[in-house]
């Protein structure tokens, strides 16, 4: 399954024709952390697919398992975590692959942009060397060629004066510039799926918009799929095609962004939306917050995980957990009493 990862710009079109199976298929993924005397069920059987060129946002609060599930896909979890279920990349199973075999996929099949631009770069290495390192890991290239490719990548992420920046150290760059470099490194080997884990959270709002626009532009150019991991529903609404909401290690709702915000089904998603400040609100009004806390992932009670906090909770919610099902075209939710359906 060696897709020819050609240049910095892989051929997304031909990749699509090669693959009858989805680009990335996650099914029944479970991640459990084993501590001394407890087990923490961080991800409890999530399934989703990512198609080439798609933009998917995974939304959830801290500890909902969004980052852990991405790390599990890339085989980055420590030994204390056990991963079950299946992750297929172009039909090839990734769960249980050795670190050595995983290395072939990293950077080329998928790459990741992290939350902290100030910690994502090695402070003792020049920016350029960090990019060429990523390039030369997968391709036999001379120093000169790798340098040219790196400068090209820096141009692609619209870093001003790329020739000069190549020889600079991370501390000489601003947060936004560093994040551009991180993106350049992530794109160095033309990944098919790019995970952006809170990639803009540490940046100020204007820089955030620039970086998001850059990511979407690059996605258009390269045809890579983009998985945004964020807690920011507004960001997801603006930039993603599909939105997936996670709660307590499970997917609770998935829908195309436009439809989701037009009519939310899952009360948790609604609660998240209500908590976003809006310009139309009266000044000095308390924002409705989601009361209570997410369940302890070490001991999960039966029933819907959101039941204790749900305003529309009913008896059956506490008995059985609702499964995630596709109820309408492109729309999945996990709720016995979805919003906007009860009236019908």
């Amino acid at each position: 399954m060696d897709a020819p990862a050609t240049a910095a710009v892989p051929d997304g079109q031909s990749a699509m024709h090669l693959a009858p199976a989805p680009l990335l298929e996650v099914s029944g993924l479970q991640v459990t952390f084993h501590a001394r005397d407890t087990s923490i069920y961080a991800v409890q059987g999530i399934s989703y697919t990512v198609e080439p060129g798609q933009t998917l946002a995974i939304i959830g609060e801290s500890g909902s398992g969004k980052t852990v599930s991405a790390q599990a896909i890339m085989g980055l979890l420590p030994g204390s975590a056990s991963v079950a279920g299946s992750v297929r990349f172009r039909g090839e199973e990734l769960v249980g692959l050795s670190q050595r075999d995983m290395r072939g996929h990293r950077g080329r099949s998928f790459a990741m942009v992290f939350q902290y631009p100030e910690r994502s770069l090695n402070p003792t290495m020049r920016v350029g060397s960090q990019i060429t390192e990523a390039i030369r890991t997968h391709e036999q290239l001379g120093k000169k060629e790798a340098h040219d490719r790196a400068v090209e990548l820096l141009k692609m992420v619209r870093l001003p004066a790329p020739e000069r920046r190549f020889y600079e150290y991370p501390h000489q760059l601003s947060g936004g510039m560093r994040q551009r470099v991180v993106i350049a490194i992530a794109l160095a080997c033309g990944p098919q799926v790019l995970f952006a884990d809170e990639a803009t959270t540490a940046l100020d709002v204007t820089t955030q918009a620039q970086i998001m626009d850059l990511l979407l532009d690059l996605q258009q150019q390269t045809g890579t799929a983009l998985v945004m991991i964020s807690h920011d529903l507004g960001l997801a609404a603006t930039y993603a095609e599909d939105v997936m909401v996670m709660y307590a290690g499970k997917i609770v709702e998935r829908a195309p962004a436009k439809e989701l915000f037009a009519g939310v089904r899952m009360p948790y998603t609604q609660a998240l939306l209500d908590a976003i400040p809006r310009i139309e609100l009266e000044p000095h009004v308390l924002l409705p917050v989601v009361g209570g806390r997410p369940p302890d992932l070490a001991s999960i009670p039966p029933g819907c995980p959101f039941a204790p906090r749900c305003p529309g909770v009913q008896d059956d919610c506490r008995q059985d957990a609702p499964p995630l099902k596709q109820y309408e075209a492109g729309r999945w939710w996990a709720c016995w009493h979805p919003l906007g359906k009860g009236a019908q």
Partner: protein, 296 residues
């Protein structure tokens, strides 16, 4: 009448400004001294021990004439006098200093490379590798260090290289601990994960991403370790397991002078002062660099 009032006004308006600039500037000045003073002392000592005897006709440290036995301090041509067999004390101090610095450098270098590697691999691989390596080192650490060093030095026999081997048994586990702690802190930093994620090989991650970021910590530690090594080396010499007579070393100068300490304290005092100044300078330099590089 108006003069004192004017005075009060000016002092009052000037004082806060001076206070703002004062401590910050003063602290920076002290900070620089913390490094500059011990560094200068060490550079001077190194210069006089290693280079001075090559460019200036310093008397030989051994085979002194019996006609010049036991000269007092500040004698002509022998500023620290001569010892009971007529050797120039100044010269023995310089050549003895060479031994101290060579042993310190050797022990720290071995500790840095071997211990540093062990700690790095233990931290990066984790799991069983970590457990096994660190338990082996725990055995070394659990032993009283001087007893261990004496046992090794005794079984190898007295010589400068053997002193280095013996003292390395003490520096290797210490470096391994520091290096492991430093590597563990770095291992989960996003840039290291990013390197793994781009498919870099483990050795490349260790030497390109971990080691350069660990160096400040390891180098400061080696300064503090060198000061300890110099003192331990003196102790070994003093106990007769170190550098054998007649080769000069600060430790064996103190040892041979000890019998005369009540009559001629200078035989013990002069090398002791050099030992002390060197050890303190290394310690201060280590602390100064630690503060400068912001290393824990």
């Amino acid at each position: 009448m108006s003069l004192p009032a004017a005075n009060i006004l000016t002092t009052a308006s000037v004082a806060p400004a001076a206070e703002v600039a004062g401590p910050a500037a003063g602290r920076r000045w002290v900070r620089n001294l913390e490094i500059a003073v011990p560094a200068t002392i060490l550079i001077l000592l190194l210069f006089f021990c290693f280079i001075w005897p090559m460019v200036y006709p310093v008397p030989k440290p051994v085979g002194g004439s019996l006609t010049t036995v036991n000269l007092p301090l500040w004698s002509k041509g022998h500023i620290f006098g001569t010892d009971i067999v007529g050797n120039d004390v100044m010269s023995r101090i310089l050549y003895g200093g060479r031994v101290s610095f060579e042993v310190a450098a050797g022990v720290q270098a071995i500790g840095l490379v071997v211990g540093g590697l062990v700690g790095l691999v233990a931290a990066y691989r984790g799991g069983w590798t970590d457990a096994v390596l660190m338990r082996i080192l725990d055995v070394f650490i659990a032993f009283p260090s001087l007893v261990l060093v004496l046992a090794i030095a005794d079984s190898l026999g007295p010589s400068e290289t053997h002193v280095i081997w013996a003292l390395s048994a003490f520096s290797i586990p210490a470096f391994a601990r520091v290096s492991r702690a430093a590597a563990l802190r770095l291992r989960d930093q996003p840039f290291v994960v990013a390197a793994r994620l781009s498919g870099s090989r483990p050795w490349r991650i260790m030497f390109q991403h971990l080691v350069p970021n660990m160096l400040p910590q390891l180098l400061t530690f080696s300064m503090l370790g060198a000061s300890l090594t110099i003192i331990l080396e003196g102790a070994l010499d003093f106990l007769g397991y170190g550098i054998p007579q007649p080769t000069a070393s600060w430790g064996n100068m103190i040892a041979s002078g000890e019998s005369f300490i009540s009559v001629y304290p200078r035989y013990v005092v002069v090398p002791s002062i050099f030992l002390l100044v060197t050890a303190i300078s290394l310690n201060l330099l280590g602390d100064g660099l630690r503060a400068r590089w912001n290393v824990r």
